[in-house]
């Protein structure tokens, strides 16, 4: 599904109007969504476009963050680096570190490359708490945003616009990059790096350049987070941060330009929205990721474009029942899974276990504003029914899809696997 210029403009306008539409709390979430979106796009430049899977991208995000916090303390929002220009520091730090790390890492490919990137991030994670000067030890470094250019930067709104400006700038750079010689060669690197050498190119150098660019943009994202949060500590190098960007990007779909951004925004939004309701959000995200890997290689945006293609080829009427079945299946299966996970979480929690030890029989658990008896069969019939019905719907949807695409495409879902944008 191509994003046309009018659509893009509309998107930008909508984003610009957001502060007027959202309350302050949600606006903060929106800033985090923007940052996550940029990080995901930076990540998928390397893993999607260049085909090099990195599991330690938090390193460049974190390096950008720490460099920025030092710059904030050093320049106080004035001089060479007023507050709005701070992400430049993140960019430079990310770029520099990216070149060094990339030079090592790109000497290997595939799984070994992935492990090297993970090791680099873990190295930083291990060493940062020890270095008080650079990383503030275990507690990290905090600072304050200073006024610049006539703006106070005290309000969330101004921070939002700053973040939006930099994210849009970075996305434009990424988009432009795809049309430059270096950008096209990066794609070729993914397709057949072996041949590039025989065509006279320096494949290693290309790999390093893609790595460095990805690291630079990650540095900008990290920088924006520090500007927004006014603090950073070594936790920014945690494996969970690297994992999150991987999950976000692939759930969104690395085959399209905006796929990772949308995936990241959606996942970040959900983690905000459900963080009060459940402790198991990460588990759900992991399950979604594995599902995507098994069944939907193109991610959610891939799903949208496949559906669009199906409608185009077979007509709306033929696709509608299929879509409804699939949607129904997704909802039912999710509901059943959530029920089981939430129930298990409560039953195995420390509080409940102490309660259960003291009581004569298993006490009820509270879930979805209702009390359930763990020992009663009726309790477990609910998820069983949800899952069974959902599975039936899914089976039926699959059969319909097969019938629809017989003779036209080998596997509609697989055909949505990354194509070049």
């Amino acid at each position: 599904m191509r994003v046309t210029t009018p659509m893009a403009l509309l998107g930008v306008l909508l984003l610009a109007a957001l502060p007027a539409l959202l309350p302050a709390g949600l606006l903060n979430a929106a800033i985090q969504m923007l940052i996550a979106a940029l990080f995901a796009c930076a990540y998928s430049l390397l893993s999607g476009r260049a085909g090099m899977l990195s599991f330690g991208h938090a390193a460049y995000f974190g390096v950008g963050a720490f460099a920025t916090v030092h710059a904030m303390k050093a320049f106080g929002g004035a001089g060479l680096l007023p507050t709005p220009l701070l992400p430049l520091v993140g960019a430079l730090a990310g770029l520099g570190f990216g070149i060094v790390a990339g030079w090592f890492a790109t000497q290997r490919s595939g799984t070994t490359f992935a492990m090297i990137t993970l090791a680099i991030a873990e190295l930083l994670h291990a060493i940062a708490p020890q270095l008080k000067g650079w990383f503030g030890g275990e507690s990290g470094i905090s600072t304050m945003r200073m006024p610049a250019w006539g703006l106070s930067f005290g309000s969330t709104q101004q921070v939002y616009y700053l973040a939006l400006a930099w994210v849009l700038l970075s996305l434009a750079l990424l988009y432009f990059h795809a049309a430059t010689p270096m950008g096209r060669l990066t794609l070729a690197l993914r397709e057949n790096s072996h041949r590039l050498g025989f065509l006279g190119y320096d494949a290693h150098g290309l790999g390093v350049s893609a790595f460095a660019l990805s690291a630079m943009l990650s540095g900008i994202a990290g920088s924006l987070q520090v500007v927004s949060n006014e603090a950073v500590n070594y936790v920014v190098f945690d494996a969970g941060v690297s994992a999150a960007v991987v999950l976000n990007s692939y759930i969104g779909g690395v085959g399209t330009f905006l796929g990772p951004a949308l995936g990241a925004a959606l996942m970040t939004f959900f983690s905000y929205a459900v963080s009060d309701a459940t402790q198991s959000w990460l588990l759900y995200q992991g399950v979604l990721f594995v599902l995507v890997m098994m069944v939907l290689p193109g991610g959610l945006t891939g799903l949208v474009s496949t559906t669009a293609r199906l409608v185009g080829r077979h007509g709306f009427a033929a696709v509608l029942p299929l879509a409804l079945l699939a949607l129904g299946a997704a909802l039912l299966l999710s509901a059943g899974t959530v029920f089981v996970v939430e129930a298990v979480q409560r039953i195995f929690s420390q509080d409940y276990r102490s309660l259960a030890r003291m009581a004569a029989s298993l006490p009820p658990i509270t879930m979805f504003a209702h009390a359930w008896q763990p020992a009663a069969a009726s309790t477990w019939l609910v998820p069983a029914a949800l899952l069974a019905t959902g599975a039936a719907f899914a089976w039926s949807a699959r059969a319909r899809l097969a019938a629809l695409t017989r003779g036209t495409e080998s596997n509609a879902l697989e055909a949505a696997a990354p194509a070049i944008s």
């Binding site: 085909g51 899977l53 599991f55 090592f104 000497q107 290997r108 595939g110 799984t111 070994t112 992935a114 492990m115 090297i116 993970l118 090791a119 680099i120 873990e122 190295l123 291990a126 060493i127 020890q130 270095l131 000067g133 650079w134 494996a239 994992a243 991987v246 999950l247 692939y250 198991s280 990460l282 588990l283 992991g286 399950v287 990721f289 594995v290 890997m293 098994m294 290689p297 996970v341 298990v344 979480q345 195995f348 929690s349 420390q350 696997a417």
Partner: protein, 313 residues
């Protein structure tokens, strides 16, 4: 001197432990070309299963049962997940195993809580084996090392002296040919994967009692194991042993060293200068011990990219 001997012994034991986990991984990689990111999760599951079963069947029973269970999980992972995405390529497999490792960690947190659990060496085994100078050396550590060595011997003999071993080794290099010769290669893959997982599970069950058992175990040892595999050379069992021991001993020795680069600079009278710069130069080696394997890995990558004993490039 005693401290050094102690440290070396500890390092050897830890190295053997690393080997137990990385042996399975390097075999699986050699055979299927995919570094299973979830391999360290088998280690973690081994520890947690043993912890959960300890109350029911006693320590020894828990270790054995846990190993078998984890082997079963390995088979399920191979059959149900990996085989389905095999045709999408290595990157896809890697991502899938990454996702699986993520889920396993979250499931462990769901069932057992996001903190270490009280999985401990049973009283029966909690005594000293011998004395090193004034320090007592616990028998459990020796046991761990013993199990690892037994395992190495068993794998080595299995691979080199039995028919199944020959088939497995052949399948590493020429799976299609082995299949054409009438061997059930799929079954071989499943078996090797399951055994590799079981070994990691055994390591976890045994080590988890001595070191901590927490949801972060997989990540901690996982990164180490991959460093071992890179340093030792992908697909080389002997390389994995060598690298494991090297890393184990180096790390263990470093933990005992309280000197820093500034202390070294004192030899040329530059201590104050180094201390003035601070940062890395004043960090004690003991604090940096955890980072030594990474440094080793980067060094190997620079000087000998295929690993110390690697065959494939």
């Amino acid at each position: 001197m005693d401290a050094v001997v102690f440290a070396v012994l500890n390092g050897v034991i830890y190295g053997l432990l690393l080997f137990m986990v990385s042996a399975g991984l390097t075999l699986i990689f050699g055979m299927m070309g995919v570094l299973n990111f979830a391999h360290a999760s088998f280690y973690m599951l081994g520890a947690y299963f043993a912890y959960a079963l300890q109350g029911l069947v006693g320590f020894a029973g828990a270790v054995v049962l846990s190993t078998l269970l984890v082997g079963g999980v390995g088979v399920v992972v191979e059959r149900g997940f990996l085989r389905r995405v095999h045709r999408h390529g290595h990157a896809h497999e890697l991502l899938l195993t990454f996702g699986l490792s993520f889920i396993v960690a979250e499931l462990v947190k769901l069932f057992f809580g996001n903190y270490p659990v009280d999985y401990r060496v049973p009283k029966a085994l909690d005594f000293a084996a011998f004395a090193v100078g004034t320090q007592q050396y616990p028998v459990y550590r020796v046991l761990m090392g013993g199990i690892a060595l037994l395992m190495f011997a068993a794998i080595y003999l299995l691979l080199t002296r039995t028919r199944i071993g020959i088939v497995v080794r052949a399948a590493i290099y020429r799976p299609r040919m082995v299949e054409a010769l009438g061997h059930h290669v799929q079954l071989v893959f499943m078996g090797v994967f399951g055994i590799g997982a079981a070994l990691a599970g055994l390591a976890g069950a045994v080590a988890g009692a001595f070191y901590t058992t927490n949801p972060n175990m997989a990540l901690e040892i996982g990164v180490m194991v991959f460093v071992v595999v890179v340093v030792g050379g992908l697909g080389s069992l002997a390389g994995a042993m060598l690298a494991s021991l090297l890393i184990g001993i180096l790390t263990s020795l470093a933990v005992g060293v309280d000197a820093s680069i500034a202390d070294l600079a004192a030899l040329v009278g530059a201590r104050e200068w180094a201390q003035g710069i601070g940062g890395l130069l004043t960090l004690k080696l003991s604090s940096l011990a955890a980072t030594i394997p990474f440094a080793l890995m980067l060094l190997v990558l620079l000087l000998r990219p295929s690993g110390l004993m690697g065959e494939r490039t």
